[in-house]
Structure formats: structure tokens, C-alpha cells
Subunit: 350 residues, 4 copies
């Protein structure tokens, strides 16, 4: 039990169910005297909202974050920062029919097995809605990183099997899918439309890059920075794989190809993805997370109820057809939390 805290020094504890009263996070260990207001956090929350890419007149009423503690006259005080996001739009009646049925690909079955009880409304704690608290907490880590000149940017590098062919950082913000290859973005959108039309869903791959990360961060042998990044991303419900730098491709390279030569000006390539022996090299850090297709689909699926009787189920509703792009700020948030934690850990060395 008690697996809802992340980090050693920049420590985040989250709580909340999809259809409970509220979601939230307590950040303990944020350094004092950091400028912080609700607007800083709100900006990140908007990025993970449903429909955030469309006309956004309605969004301001929802997912409002409230800072309850730890900030005084616009600055952090070093005491715990509690963030609250009320669930305003939670109509749990929709879920009554799912009280006794296990949705395929969801945590319904495992939560019941683990705890012997479950809040079935909207997936309860296993809902993707839980990640709002991560994004809120991550936005504070992001402010800390910004003060140190560290930037964390995520994007879509593959969706529905369509991979990018080029990486243009400036193009990321130019399309709804946050894709660094505008041409690929169009094909991805089309593929997404087809899946949506067929009542199905798609998966994809998110890449997060960290620039400005100082060499030295990371705590061997177990709390290597890549190990903590892997945990951080794999702890997002939708993620089934994580890789750093060349990643799985490294397994197909020779040593002479994979090793990054070093010159007087620094590393000449970056197959390592910015980490060697679990410690940041100072190069750009590159992490990719494979996201499975959203399990809630209109198509009929086989399952059982809690008594073990066969059932047919189709999850009708306004589901997204892909976690991308909404999962991108979540991935970024988790990366921000890891880097902020290691930034503080490294301060103890001198």
C-alpha cells in the first residue's frame, strides 16, 4: 500500500477519484521563494483538458485549481503546497451499469482483486483523470526548472503506426497533435478520424526532450536518472514501454556505432539520450513512451461480470480516440518531477 507519493526530495502525493469530490496533490519539498500563482498551474491543466485544442470558451469553468497552502504573497514558503481541483462535472449515474462488469483493458478487474472493493464510477482512482493532479504538481516542478534554465518539451513522434520523418521543434506548437513533422501530423489526423469513425481507438509514441539539464544529475546505482524517468513514465496508465536515447534501436547497433565519441567540444552524437551510467551528461535528454490505444471503444467486446458470467460490452460516449495529444503534458509533468527531484538531490553534493 501507500504508492501515491513520488520523489525523494521534491515529493508529490496525489489523491482523488474520477467521480469523487476532488482531485489534488500535495507537493512537499519545493524550495522557498519561488514565484507561484494559480495561473501558472492552470495553464498546464488547460493543455491536458478534453477538447483543449478546440475553441475554448467553455474551459475556464472547469478543472480550476486552487492553492490551499505553502504560498504566501505570491511566493512559495518551503512548506507543503496543497493543490485542489474540484470535480464539478461528475455525473456518476452514467456508470451504474458498469458497477458489476469488468471493462477490458481497464483496472476494473485488478482493483477489485487487490482491494476487495472498488469505486466503479468512471474508473475511480484508475481513471486517466488522476493525471490532472500530476500535471498540476508538474507545473510547479517546471517553474523550478525554468529558474535553472531547464526546459522540458514533449511531442508526438508516432500515432497509429505513422512515424515522423523529421523533427522540427518550432513546428510542435503548430498543430493540434503537437507533432514536430507537420506532414506526418496530417496523416496522423486522418488515421485518427478513421479510427474514430469506426468506433475504435489508436496508440502512439510520445517523445520528451529535456534541454539545459546540467551534467551530474542522477543517483547510481538504483536511482539512476534514466531509471527514475522510466518509472515516472511507466506509472502513467496508458504507457507500455519507455526508452532513452537510441532505446530499443541500441539493441541492434554495434558498439562502434552506439558509443558517442567525445571531442574537445563535447559529445559528438547522442545515442545515449543524455545519460551515461545513470547520470546526466549535460546533453539533451531524450525519452520516448509508448502509449497503448484507449481501451474504451464503441465496438462490442467480450468480458465477464463480477460473478464470472460472460457479458458483451461497448463503451459508448464521448471518448477520445487516442490519448495523444492529451497525454503529452502528463508525460512532460512526470519528467519535470524527476528532473526537479534530482536537481535537489544533487545539491547535497559539495
Amino acid at each position: 500500500m501507500s504508492g501515491n507519493t513520488f520523489g525523494v526530495l521534491f515529493k508529490v502525493t496525489t489523491f482523488g477519484e474520477s467521480h469523487g469530490k476532488a482531485l489534488g496533490a500535495v507537493i512537499d519539498g519545493c524550495p522557498p521563494n519561488l514565484d507561484l500563482g494559480e495561473a501558472d498551474i492552470q495553464a498546464e491543466l488547460y493543455r491536458r483538458k478534453p477538447g483543449a485544442h478546440k475553441a475554448s470558451t467553455s474551459r475556464k469553468e472547469e478543472d480550476r485549481v486552487e492553492i490551499l497552502s505553502g504560498v504566501f504573497e505570491g511566493k512559495t514558503t518551503g512548506t507543503p503546497i496543497a493543490l485542489l481541483i474540484h470535480n464539478t462535472d461528475a455525473d456518476s449515474r452514467d456508470y451504474e451499469q458498469l458497477r458489476d462488469v469488468f471493462r477490458p483493458g481497464q483496472g476494473d478487474f485488478t482493483y477489485l482483486k487487490k482491494y476487495g472493493i472498488r469505486d466503479h464510477r468512471g474508473g475511480g482512482r484508475a481513471s486517466g483523470r488522476e493525471t490532472a493532479a500530476r500535471v498540476a504538481a508538474g507545473s510547479i516542478a517546471r517553474k523550478l526548472l525554468a529558474r535553472e534554465g531547464i526546459e522540458v518539451v514533449g511531442c508526438t513522434v508516432e500515432l497509429g503506426g505513422i512515424a515522423i520523418e523529421r523533427y522540427s521543434r518550432t513546428d510542435i506548437a503548430g498543430n493540434r497533435l503537437l507533432c514536430p513533422d507537420p506532414g506526418a501530423a496530417k496523416r496522423m489526423e486522418q488515421k485518427l478520424e478513421e479510427a474514430r469513425g469506426g468506433g475504435d481507438s489508436l496508440g502512439g509514441i510520445v517523445e520528451v526532450r529535456v534541454t539545459g539539464c546540467p551534467a551530474g544529475l542522477g543517483e547510481p546505482v538504483f536511482d539512476k536518472i534514466d531509471a527514475d524517468l522510466a518509472k515516472a513514465l511507466m506509472s502513467i496508465g496508458t504507457v507500455k514501454g519507455v526508452e532513452i536515447g537510441a532505446g530499443f534501436e541500441a539493441a541492434r547497433m554495434k558498439g562502434s556505432e552506439c558509443n558517442d565519441p567525445i571531442g574537445p567540444g563535447g559529445f559528438k552524437t547522442n545515442h545515449a539520450g543524455g545519460t551515461l551510467a545513470g547520470i546526466a551528461t549535460g546533453q539533451e535528454m531524450i525519452i520516448r513512451a509508448a502509449c497503448k490505444p484507449i481501451p474504451s471503444i464503441d465496438l462490442e467486446q467480450e468480458t465477464v461480470d463480477v460473478q464470472g458470467n460472460p457479458q458483451k460490452i461497448s463503451i459508448r460516449g464521448r471518448h477520445d480516440a487516442c490519448v495523444i495529444p492529451r497525454v503529452i503534458p502528463v508525460c512532460e509533468a512526470m519528467v519535470c518531477l524527476v528532473i526537479a527531484d534530482h536537481l535537489l538531490r544533487q545539491r547535497t553534493i559539495r
Copy 2:
């Protein structure tokens, strides 16, 4: 600092450098009354030794583990179990030439950046030799798991770009590479021989399967069992990517393909790899780790010394050409530690 402890309840702390006096591990939290002797641990250590696959007359003199505490009359007592492995064969003179040069693909540069000092002999703490302590600790976790009917078996599923075409569990032990496809094993050996002949090295992919794992293990939302497995494997120096179940392939599937249907007899497929929402489903757990090629190669590489002057370097010696198969028991050990830890964590729920 202080990143050398792994686990929450089944807690392992390791220590030791490649050419220091000894390596070791302290296991705190192992339940009492578990049968344990040095032979149990030794058997696993033999599996990761250099040349373990060849005639093994010489091996008994080396990597001898000693239990210093926590075991009384052949049973664990619940107190910390300290394990010691003396470094007998450590001739550090070989490394004097590397005192001031950063080997590409190794931790030489980052350790110095982080700590401002480094033990250059054989890679110091960043050496693969560190994993002997993991294997020793993991062997105790394995005994605990065995008592609960849980088994952890690793194998080679890809090497030098050659992937297996079939998975035959009984064939794993039948070849040196622990490959479940004997035909592929032969092609892998050939590829390995070529690389070795050319003074180069290869990477590969290890798969670990856990059978008998009870449903319910895993602690959302951050200490999900897949998140902890990802961290565990990514904390091995050579690993650049980790995936669970369908993994990166899931990113290319549709929801209707990826979801595992449930019938009265249980799940009908296992794309999830034995975990849903971060909790074990009770199915076989399937994890893969991508290993980069060994960075120590005979071929000349560009680098710099600590003053930043360009240098050419070639690491001559008796290096393996691939971490596979020696890394397999290391991967298994880390998986054993995660499962044992979550087994104990789940006991607190009732």
C-alpha cells in the same frame, strides 16, 4: 545522493567497486524462517560469471559469497542479511592508463562531473561488476517467491538484430545464450563471433517472464508494478529501453486489437503482459529490456582526457562481445526483487 537502496519492504542496499576490497548487499526485510544457505546464492552468481557457459573447473575459486548475518541454523531470522563477495582478482595496474581518460559509452565522464572524484579502476562503482551484488540479493528474493509458487525466467529474444521466431521455454536452458529458439540461437552465435572477430560488440533484447504471480500485486498510482519493473530494469547500466506485454507494438495496435477479452476462464489474450492499471492480473507477466552493445571495444575511438585534450582509445582485453547472456540473471534478479517487494506490500491489505 544515497541511491543505492532498492525496494520498500524487501529492501536491498548494495555497495562496492570493481577493484575495491569487496562487493556486497544488505537485505533488510526478508521474512524470517526462510531456508537459506550460501549455496542458494552461489548458484545464481555462477550464472552471471564470465565464461560461465564454458568448462567451469576454475569458477569455484571466484565470486564466493559469504553470509555475514541474518541467517541462523539455516534459516533467515528477520534481521538484515549481509552478503559479501571479495574481489580476489582485481589487478588495478591495468587501469592506470585510464586514470585521466574518459572511455566513450562509460560512466567515466559523468561520475567525475557528479562527484568531482572517481575511482577509475575498472569503472569503479559504474562497473558491470556491481551487478553481482544484485544477483546475490535477487537469489534470496527468488527463494521467497519459490515458496509462494512464483517463478521468474529470463531469455534472449533478440541479439545483434536477430530475433527469435518461436518461444519454447524448455529450449532456453539448452543453449549458451539462453535463447528459446535454438535455430535463432545458432545465428546469434555466428553474428556474435563476427563481431568479436572485428573487435566490435553487439546489443540485444532480454525477456523475463513471471509465472504464478498472484493477481493484486502493485501499488497505484506511482508504484505500479510495471513502473517498478521499468525502474528495476532501467537501473541496469546496459539497459536503454523497457516494455511490458505488447510494449512499443501496442502503440501500433487498435483498441479492439490490444484489449484482452475476458471470458469465464480468464483473459483470452495477454497483450497487457500481466498487468492492468499497474496491478498484476494473475496472468504471466512479460517484460523486455533492450541492452546496448558493450562500450568496451578493440576498435579505436575518439575521446578526450580530463583536461579536454583529444585522445584516441581502444580498450584491449578479454571483454565480452555482448552483455547477453550474462545480463540475463541480472535482469531476473531485479524482477525477483520487485515481485518480492510487492508480495510483502500486498500482505498489508486485509
Copy 3:
């Protein structure tokens, strides 16, 4: 940083300042299927309220706790339980004059030294008000303990130098000071009245007893149950000393007097206070906490402002003259948290 979480398995994180928006706690690791409602928590909160002993018509408007998560249909679900207590009565204008002055005996000076910034309103995070979150969290631990037949009861054993002469458990609830000796209680009240009249304050000693605690709880060598109890109580701002069983008096005994003989029916005395070698014996556990006098007094005191200039200060207002009896439920709460945590830790042994 990050010192606001208590416990290893039954884990509590608190937040909130005296005059901020709210106080609260997140309990992570509470077992599922425990009956829990806001009324359970509210009952304990009433006990620590100012004036709780007097006619209590007004109290229902204040210190209302809200359960935000982790409880479904009246039962805990195993997910984090977030508790919120809004600060309704916080008029921070009263404190403007204290913005730049350090009150003697308070955390004003040290918080500024530590963080370089402080929320001066009502003591901020250092206010005794923080303990409301502890009491709220402790009330959940108490419910868990009750299910196992464990009871935690605190009382006043000394106040203003007046010590009890007898211990009658049934008399504790019969007087405002929760004193097990009604005669002593009267003399304490009189002494308290004198101090209040003189604008001064008094200290006292609280004793907490745990009955029904099973033998075996406690984790040597550092997380001994008495060590964790000592930390738990000493973490309350007002506490300056903690002792177990015979405590400081044990230092004046001979071995032949202090050792508790064991007979077929169990221990014959209890100088140990229910713990041997850091593990519960199964006897009654007895812990005492020495509380200093409340530092806020009407009498004029010497101090300095943030510039170091001498100042005279007297803290006028409706301050209590002693933390007793309000601190008693706080002490009980901390003891409940320790016992609950060790109860869960012991479950991992079998």
C-alpha cells in the same frame, strides 16, 4: 526539505498554515473496507478545539472536516484518503504587527532563518493549528486499531508542577483536564486560574496508554516502537521530553528493581512500559510527553525585530494558559499513527 509525511505503510502527509485557506491531510496506505465517515473524524476534532469543554453550541460551524477521496459508500477503498478542514475564522489583520518581530518561544526566528521567507500570520505552518490535521488523520488510525481491539487513551498526569497521586481510568472523562485523579484535577485547575490571572502560562505532562497492542510490533534496530513513539510525540511543537515506562526514573533504579520478572501468566511488573528491545511485549504501553508552557503570554518580554533592534512584546488575546487538555487528543493521534503503522508493518512477517 519534505518533512511533512509520517509513517512507512500507514502514511500521513499534512499541509496548511494557521491563516491560509485550509489545513488537511492525505492518508495513504489505510487498508480498504474500513467503515469511515466524516462523523468519525469530526468527533476527534471537537476534542482538540478551543473551549471544547464548555457549552458547545457554536462548535458545529467550525473545524468541519471534509473527506475528499478514498471513501466509497461508507468504506475506505485502499486509495488515498484526503481530508480538508477549511480555515473559516482566520483574520490575519491581527497579526500585521507581528510581521517583523520574533515572538520568544515560537518558530518565527527559525522559520525565517531556514526558509528566508515566512508566513507570519498566526505562526503560519508553525502554529499549533497544524495539529488539527494530525488529529483528523489519527482518528482514521484509531478506527483501524479499534477493529483490532487496540485502544489509545491519554490523560494529564502533571500540570503546573502538580502531579497525580492515583490513576483511575474511569475518572479521566469526568473532568475537563482529563485527569485520572479528580483531587489533583481540582488543584491543577486552581493553579491554571492563577496563571491565567497573572497573564502567564503553565506546562504539564501527558500520559498515553495503549491497551490491546499485540506482542511483536516494532522494527529493530532503528524503527523500534519506542523510537517511533518518541519521534511522534517530540514532533508536536510543545513537547520537550518523552519517556516510556519507568522512563527517567529507570535511570535511578537498580537492575534488580527495573527488570520485569516473568511468570507463567506473563510479566509481573511493567517498568518497561510495554516494550523490550524495541518490540511490543503485549503489556500496556505507557508513554509520557512533557509539554512546555504556552509561549504566548500577556506579560511583556524582550525580543528583537528582523533588523535586530530590541523590542518589547506582549501577546494579548484569548490564548489558552496551557496546552493541556487540548494537546491530549494530539498526543493520542500521534500514538495511534505509530501503532497503526507498525500493525501493518508486522503483517508482512509470516
Copy 4:
């Protein structure tokens, strides 16, 4: 389980039983580039040895510490420092008669209740011998503190009911009992002789003072520096009470007496003992620990065996008659560990 690690950033894990192969400690988180050799540690170990006060020709053969890792060319490297102390003099035959009998005042009964198995030889893990590992680890913390100008000095302030009447720091080293009042020291020695002659034992009180501790150390609200000190000292088997500053006496003071006035030159008194609201004030830190009499006495005592049959027992042998002075370096070591840990924790704030 797993209660053998102490500290958050300066982290110590100890292991070993009284009559096992060895005792030891792993220190993870010690900053790099600290001068360290075995002689530094050995010097502290000598202070807790039996008969350390007498002619010491024999002592050099025993309790030899060996540094196994984490130190390179006389400096710490930032990697875990493993310390080993072999048990050379352990003749476990003496203890065969105690295999099935519970010694009063010892952990025999509780260890068996907790774990269902115990190493009966010399108390096993519950032996005072375990503290050798604490002293070894503490000596490294002490070196770190010395580099920052922080000094930790313990002494005897009460023994067998005889309290000091004056505190002369320079006199501490002048007598075997490390007593700051030479006159009291003589009376204590006499009392000790009487107890020893009668086959009995005595308790006493140790005081530890920390000078040079910078203001700001300590992590409210749970990891207050006094809370961590209380835990640290109470985790020593013999300690039954801990107090800071005025301690239990504070409970008998008025607010106007207990508050420390502040002047332009700093605090004018130090009833607080160097901590306010859980954070160091920069004044001298003063902590006292009450030690019970050693339970092993020649006098006959009542007990039972593991079957519950009544037994008479007298522990003949060369036992000390009081843990003082040998426990003093243990108390100092625990205080050093706490201060070192908080020193590192404070570094994360800026």
C-alpha cells in the same frame, strides 16, 4: 520489517548479530572528497569498547574496522561506504543454556514473538554489540560535521541517582565516566562499585551537546530536528527517555520563565535547548537520554522458558554494572548522524 536504515540523505544501514560472523554498516549519501581512513573510525570504536578506560595494550587486536568500499586514495567518492567489524571473540557455547529461556529485561521474549525464530547467542541482533556499527557509522558523520565546524560531545550527568552539580566541559575527559563534575564522578564510581559488588547494576543519564550547529536545520512538521534526535536516542536499546533543553523540567515552568528572551546579541537563555519549532536556533543543542540499568545481573530473577515453565535465572559473567560510560559514544554517534542528515537536507534549500 526493514527497520535497519537510519536517515534520509546521510543514510546508514546496519547489520550483524552479537555472535554471528560480523557486524557492519553501509553509509549511503556521504558527500565525496571527505578525508577518511580506518583510523578515524577505529578511534571512536575504541571509546565504546569494554575496558577502554584501562590500560589499552590488548585493545588493538579487537573490533578492527575495515573499509570495504566508497573510499579511494584516502577520500570518500560519494558511493556507499561499507564498514566491516569481524566478530573474533564470539564463543557461543556460553549461551547454549539460554537457548530456551527468556532473560528479564532483554529482547529474548519479544524477538521470538515477532519473528517466530531467534538467534539466542549473546542476544543476537538485540545485543548491545549492535551499537558498534552505529559508532563506526557515526564517526564518518562526525568527520563531515567537523569540516563544518560542528562538534558533538557527550557526558554523564547522572548515575545511580547521583547528579552532577556543575558542568565543566574541560573536566569531561579527565575521568573514566566522562563526567563534567569530578566530585560527582567520584561518588558515582563508588556507587557503581557497590552495585557491582552486590551483583546488581545501575542506570544513569547521558547528556549530549552540539556546538556550532547552524540555525535552520530541521524539517517541520514531522522531521523536526528534536523529533529526529528523540528517535535516534530512543532507538538505543538502553534508553527509556529523551529530553531537549529544559525537557521535563519545562513542564514545571511558567511561560515567563521558560521562554528564552532575544536580544540584539541573540538568545539570552537556552531553555529551548537549541531548537524552536523543530528548527535549530544556532545555540548549543542540549539533549539528555535516560539509560536503564543493565538487565544482565548476577542476582537471581524469575522468568519462564519458551514452554512457559517458571525458571530462576542469574546471568553470571563479566558484565558491566552500567552502560555508562560505554553508551556515551553511541549517543554521540546517533546525534552525529541526525545532524549530518539535516545538514544535507538543508542544502537543498536555496
